[in-house]
Every structure is written in structure tokens, then in C-alpha cells.
Symmetry: none
Subunit: 126 residues, 2 copies
DNA sequence: GCAACCTTATCAAAGCTGTGTCAAGGTTAG
DNA sequence: CTAACCTTGACACAGCTTTGATAAGGTTGC
């Protein structure tokens, strides 16, 4: 096994050296360094860089999206909060649960009065 | 049941009407409509919008990030591909401390040297 | 039937992303 | 020693995101 320099890695992966530094900067790769600071791209990084290109192309996503996914995967409180938000009331606003309805009823006056000083709520469609 | 108009919903949730339309546009909410096309924000929607603000503020993420998380949660092939890519990541320890980082860098160097056998392209540091 | 909403569509500006390029300086190979 | 690399940092620019403002027209309440 061998390690490639940034230019060599760029050639074999299809990225530019500039982009390899950028991808490292946003946390998606972390090449080893020589003592003098040169990046060393091993087989693992090269494979990751190639599959990264495929990932972006096949799903039309951006580097920032992958960086966010990485952040979610390593920050449990973040992924938990996001997942909770997504799970709550998934689509179809038509369906309001009994609990939500009850809570709404109980706090309706406080909410509406606090929020609406001059107008009234609209009539629900048939 | 009563529903709020977009302006009323904006006031109770802290968003602007403009942003409520934008949030709908990127797929994060889907308010019901009256027969004539007016958006109707029910209790579920309002709660969702409030927690969305908290989510963004507490974790310093953007609407686009949440939209991407939604896309991942509803596109199994996308989330699978992203997760696969992330799993192959040589994750570094959770740390943030400068000291720990430096120490880790040094250790990583040693690890890489052990893993890579020198051949042509680049002299792996001694 | 008018005032005050609502709708969609469009223009605009500020900010972020992705990318190139260049500069100043350190490293390495021949 | 010199050429050809490497490093970080900065300037730049196109394009996309986010957000506001505004216009043209429909709906609703009094």
C-alpha cells in the first residue's frame, strides 16, 4: 500500500486539489499528514473520495448535505431533535389527534387573544 | 374547528407570512386550504412551526438542513447510500479540545505509518 | 362595495457554497 | 541548488438560498 500526494489523489479521484482541501475542511475526509504537513491519501481515502462523487451525482445532493448528515450521525442530541420534529405530525394536516385538539381547546382563548387583537380566525372550509 | 390565516399563524409562531410560504414550499409543512385556496393553520401546524424555530436556534442548523433530513427520512435509497458512506468513515474521537486534537493528530500519524507500507509515490514519514 | 385580507409570481438584495487562482513560503527529489 | 512539489491564506466570482417588497387579482366581512 502507498500514500498519494494531493495532486496524485486528485487525478485518481476526479476531484481537484482545491476541492480535496475543501472536502477536508468541511469534515468529510481527514487525510493523514507527513511530519512536514503534507497530506497523505491512502487507499481508504481514495475509495471514499470516489464513492463520494457517486453519492453526490446519483442523488443530486451537495457536499453540505453530506456534512450535515455526518453532523447528525455524530451528534445524538441533534439527530434526536430533528427526528422528533420530523416524526411529529407527519404530513396530512387534515388529521388532528384528539390530544392536540384538546390541548388546543384548552389554550385557545389565551392563544387567540394574545395573538389577535383586531382580527378573527377564518371559517374552516366545508 | 377553527384555523388561523397565514398572518395570524405568523404572529403566533414568530415567522413572517413570507417565511411560512417558503417553509411550505420546501416541504416542511403542508397547511390545509379552504375551498378558495386560503391556507389554514391548525394547532398541529402551529406547534410544528414553533418547535421548528427552536430546533433551528438550538442546533444552529438551517431550513435546508431540515429539508434534507426530511428527504432522507422519506427516501430509503438516499439515506441508505449516505449512511453507507458515513459508516466507512474513519471517524475520529468526539473531542474538540485543542490539546486532544493535537495529541490525536500525533497518534493518527503513528497509526497511518503502521498501516501504510512505503513504496513509490510519497515517502511516508518516518 | 370597500377595506382588509388572501393568492401566486416576480424582482431584489444579502449571504453562503463551491470553485479557481494566485501569493509567500516550506519540502523534496535529482 | 533548482525545479517541482507541498502548505495556508486570501481575493474573486457564479450560482443558489433565504428573505423582503411589490404587483395583479380573488375572497371575505361588515
Amino acid at each position: 500500500m502507498q500514500a498519494l500526494t494531493i495532486h496524485q489523489a486528485a487525478e485518481t479521484t476526479g476531484w481537484t486539489p482545491r476541492m480535496l482541501r475543501y472536502i477536508e475542511r468541511i469534515g468529510l475526509i481527514e487525510p493523514a499528514r507527513t511530519e512536514s504537513g503534507y497530506r497523505q491519501f491512502g487507499p481508504g481515502e481514495l475509495q471514499r473520495l470516489r464513492t463520494l462523487r457517486e453519492l453526490l451525482a446519483e442523488h443530486e445532493i451537495g457536499l453540505g448535505d453530506v456534512a450535515f448528515a455526518l453532523r447528525m450521525s455524530s451528534d445524538e442530541s441533534l439527530s434526536g431533535a430533528v427526528d422528533d420534529w420530523l416524526e411529529a405530525t407527519p404530513q396530512r394536516p387534515e388529521t388532528v389527534s384528539a390530544d392536540e385538539w384538546l390541548e388546543w381547546e384548552q389554550q385557545k382563548h389565551a392563544r387567540i387573544i394574545a395573538a389577535l387583537t383586531t382580527t378573527k380566525p377564518m371559517e374552516t372550509a366545508a
